[in-house]
């Protein structure tokens, strides 16, 4: 059964890593629904957050293929209940929409959005929330003439307790033991 998965990848800063990751998804005909990249809490380590809709079997397979990449440190696959996530959206409307009473102001307040900028020609509204909330606000603003709408990819924080640096420490330790031959009990 298909469902939405959030894949979090921690990677080194190697040119081409994005290409390698998208190739893995493309080969399996998995569409990237949203994508964000930024530096993580660990300096020099990048966090890529990819949202896909696929089967649990396939997402596990592609995650393993991704983790196999030389420059990928760790890959986590999450269902929506395992993460706290947000997206951000900007809406541009003509300033004259504000002229029709304080309706826009009401919509903005009740949606927990805010007005970012007001100029003689246009206003920009910002909203942080789930995809559903963001699209709902878009619906509500639509009658007042939305000139532009832009939405970010997902950013996510995991609920799990074990953090990246403890994985990195484990990997380092394993790496340091690397050349030791396995002990063979007689």
């Amino acid at each position: 059964m298909k469902q939405e998965y959030t894949i979090s990848l921690f990677t080194e800063d190697h040119i081409g890593i994005l290409g390698q990751i998208t190739i893995i998804l493309t080969r399996r005909q998995i569409n990237i629904e949203s994508f964000t990249a930024s530096e993580s809490a660990v300096k020099g380590v990048y966090l890529l957050t990819i949202v896909v809709t696929t089967s649990s079997e396939l997402v596990e397979k592609v995650a393993k293929q991704m983790e196999k990449l030389v420059d990928v440190l760790k890959v986590f696959v999450h269902t929506f209940d395992q993460i706290i996530y947000q997206e951000i959206a900007l809406y541009k409307l003509p300033t004259k929409a504000m002229m029709s009473g304080n309706i826009i102001d009401q919509i903005v307040r009740s949606s927990y959005a805010r007005i970012l900028e007001v100029s003689p020609e246009f206003i920009v509204i910002e909203k942080t929330g789930s995809k559903e909330e963001i699209l709902k606000l878009l619906d509500r603003l639509e009658p007042y003439g939305v000139l532009q709408f832009a939405k970010s990819g997902r950013v996510a924080i995991t609920k799990q307790v074990k953090e990246l640096h403890s994985y990195l420490k484990e990997m380092d330790e394993a790496n340091l033991n690397n050349n030791k031959p396995a002990e063979i009990p007689v």
Partner: protein
């Protein structure tokens, strides 16, 4: 008067530095990594490297192939017979793209190789400059890792990383693309081998828990079967495999690329797996109750219909690449370790055992296969020469101790089926990719890797013509490769499928062929053509005894089909012995 460069070098030497160009540094890196043989083809962007090669002639032998694809295949074959990292050079643009088939081939067969391509001057990258191509982008899906170097100072570190990645973990090809200006800049050379990459840890602590539970399953098995693949050879675990099989008494079946990992004359040898493998190995896979898969990846050519594959068996999978577990076949016990270490530990934990009744079933299958397939193929009383009898004769004349190379198709399946391998790493073939044209350049690479053994490559008339320009390489370096062309005037395997599944409609598979002997002779290579059975043994004997390069063309039965065969969509147990 001394040139500016020389003056600079002398001053640097006085300061304890070793100044040299990037091209020079590259070759010094290769020497540090133990490289003494390189295959390649020069061109504009890589000229600084080729120029420097002349200064290292005593340490690095460069073999000029006649096409970059040939260099890539030769490097792969060299690696497969020596266990060393194979290295090939190519220039930018078409030089680099010509390597791609060979790189993909090495990728699918996990062969440790390092490909060095040159790139246009860094300031021209992205401008569609002459002979500029994005080889990093192109090679991304077919390399284990790739990297572009734009500064000479980065060359030593990247090359060290390339070798470390190529030869550790699940081995594979790495490509390093070096701009022409990086080859020409001066650097202070220092080299340190790579032993650590934070994001890449190829060494796995022994998975003791899994191995011990595997041992319990093996100790309670009634019809266990070992499926061993190329990973056994890549890990150097042939002895461990033999010790494990002998202690437990479990029969060993090999994949196509696993051939030579276990001696074919061993009483526990169960045969080759897969589409044209042995009858017993395939049929009895579906009767086994425990399968121990070692260094193999359950390729579709091995499993046939997955829905009907090994349904009676508990599957233990020993594999270095975690992504292979459950990829095709659900695994009961995954042992994510190097084959050698895992087998060693496992052998210590299993009990001495024997499965005489179970092994007898393999021998019964062997008898059936011998009567219906092997005998008519290797000892035909009449008709034209059969491929199988050629290979079996070569096997007898070389006592199973030659290095055998094949192209792809019927010649490959017949070589795999009828040569009786006795020593590890004596089989070189294109497995995953099935690259026609592999056989001749791979034969060249294998011969250079094994100067003390006879090397024989079996080609079809189709595959030979895909890379036959490499006869020029054989001629130039007097490479004593023995080339056997099994000429049926068809693209035999495709014709076989047309025969079986396309109502005998032979679309574009018949080949009107040139005079191969005349072509060989034009390259000053001794050659002969035979058509009659009575000439076969003498001709093969003469070929094997010849010191230098030799080409023997043998006219074989035109429309012979390779059997047994698991038809596409069929289960391994539904393997057909005859048409």
């Amino acid at each position: 008067m001394k040139s500016e460069n020389e003056t600079e070098q002398i001053t640097a030497q006085a300061n304890g530095q070793e100044l040299m160009t990037g091209a020079d540094a590259l070759l010094r890196c290769l020497i540090q990594e133990g490289v003494d043989t390189v295959f390649g083809y020069p061109g504009g962007a890589i000229m600084p490297v080729y120029d420097k090669l002349l200064d290292y002639e005593d340490q690095i032998s460069h073999y000029l192939t006649r096409h970059e694809q040939g260099a890539a295949h030769a490097a792969q074959a060299y690696s497969m017979v020596t266990g060393k990292v194979g290295v090939a050079f190519a220039t930018s643009g078409p030089g680099a793209t010509n390597l791609v088939t060979g790189i993909a081939n090495a990728f699918l067969d996990s062969v440790p190789t390092v490909f060095i391509t040159a790139q246009v001057v860094s300031t021209l990258i992205g401008t569609d400059a002459f002979q500029e191509t994005d080889i990093i982008g192109i090679s991304m899906p077919v390399t284990k890792w790739n990297c572009q170097v734009k500064k000479a100072e980065d060359i030593p570190e990247v090359i060290a990383k390339a070798f470390y990645i190529a030869k550790t973990g699940r081995k594979g090809p790495v490509l390093v693309d070096i701009t022409k200006d990086a080859q020409q800049q001066m650097i202070d050379f220092k080299y340190q081998k790579c032993t650590y990459i934070r994001s890449y840890n190829p060494y796995r602590p022994l998975n003791i828990k899994s191995i011990e539970s595997a041992a319990i399953m093996i100790n309670h098995a009634e019809r266990p079967l070992i499926l061993a693949g190329h990973g056994v050879l890549l890990s150097g675990a042939e002895k461990e495999l033999k010790a494990f099989a002998e202690k437990t008494g479990i029969p060993v079946a090999l994949t196509l690329l696993g051939l030579s990992a276990f001696p074919t004359d061993h009483r526990l040898y169960a045969g080759m797996l897969g589409m044209h493998g042995n009858y017993g190995a395939n049929v009895l896979t579906n009767q086994a109750d425990v399968i121990i898969a070692v260094g193999m990846r359950f390729d579709d050519r091995v499993t046939g219909n997955l829905k009907k594959y090994a349904k009676n068996a508990t599957i233990i999978h020993i594999e270095i690449d975690e992504a292979e577990f459950n990829k095709n076949v659900p695994v009961d016990v995954a042992i994510h370790n190097d084959a050698k270490e895992a087998l060693n530990y496992l052998t210590a934990h299993v009990k001495d055992n024997s499965f005489e009744k179970w092994i007898r079933e393999f021998r019964i299958c062997d008898k059936t296969e011998y009567d219906k397939v092997v005998k008519p193929e290797t000892k035909p009383a009449e008709g034209q020469i059969r491929m199988g009898e050629v290979v079996r004769l070569v096997s007898e004349l070389t006592k199973g101790e030659a290095v055998i190379v094949s192209d792809v198709g019927q010649n490959q399946m017949v070589a795999a089926r009828y040569y009786k391998f006795t020593k590890p790493n004596t089989w070189v073939s294109s497995g995953g990719m099935g690259t026609m044209g592999f056989g001749l350049p791979a034969g060249i690479g294998a011969t250079l890797g094994c100067p003390d053994k006879p090397v024989i490559t079996f080609l079809g008339d189709g595959g030979f013509q895909m890379t036959m320009q490499e006869l020029g390489t054989m001629m130039q370096y007097n490479i004593p490769l023995k080339v056997v062309i099994l000429n049926n005037s068809y693209l035999g395997m495709v014709r076989q499928w047309q025969d079986m599944f396309f109502d005998k409609r032979y679309a574009s598979t018949a080949l009107p062929n040139p005079d191969f002997v005349a072509i060989a002779k034009a390259y000053k290579i001794e050659a002969r053509k035979i058509e009659l059975r009575e000439d076969l043994k003498d001709a093969l004997q003469k070929m094997i005894e010849t010191k230098g390069p030799y080409l023997l063309e043998i006219t074989v039965e035109n429309e012979a089909n390779v059997f047994p065969m698991i038809e596409p969509g069929s289960a391994v147990s539904e393997i057909r012995l005859t048409y």
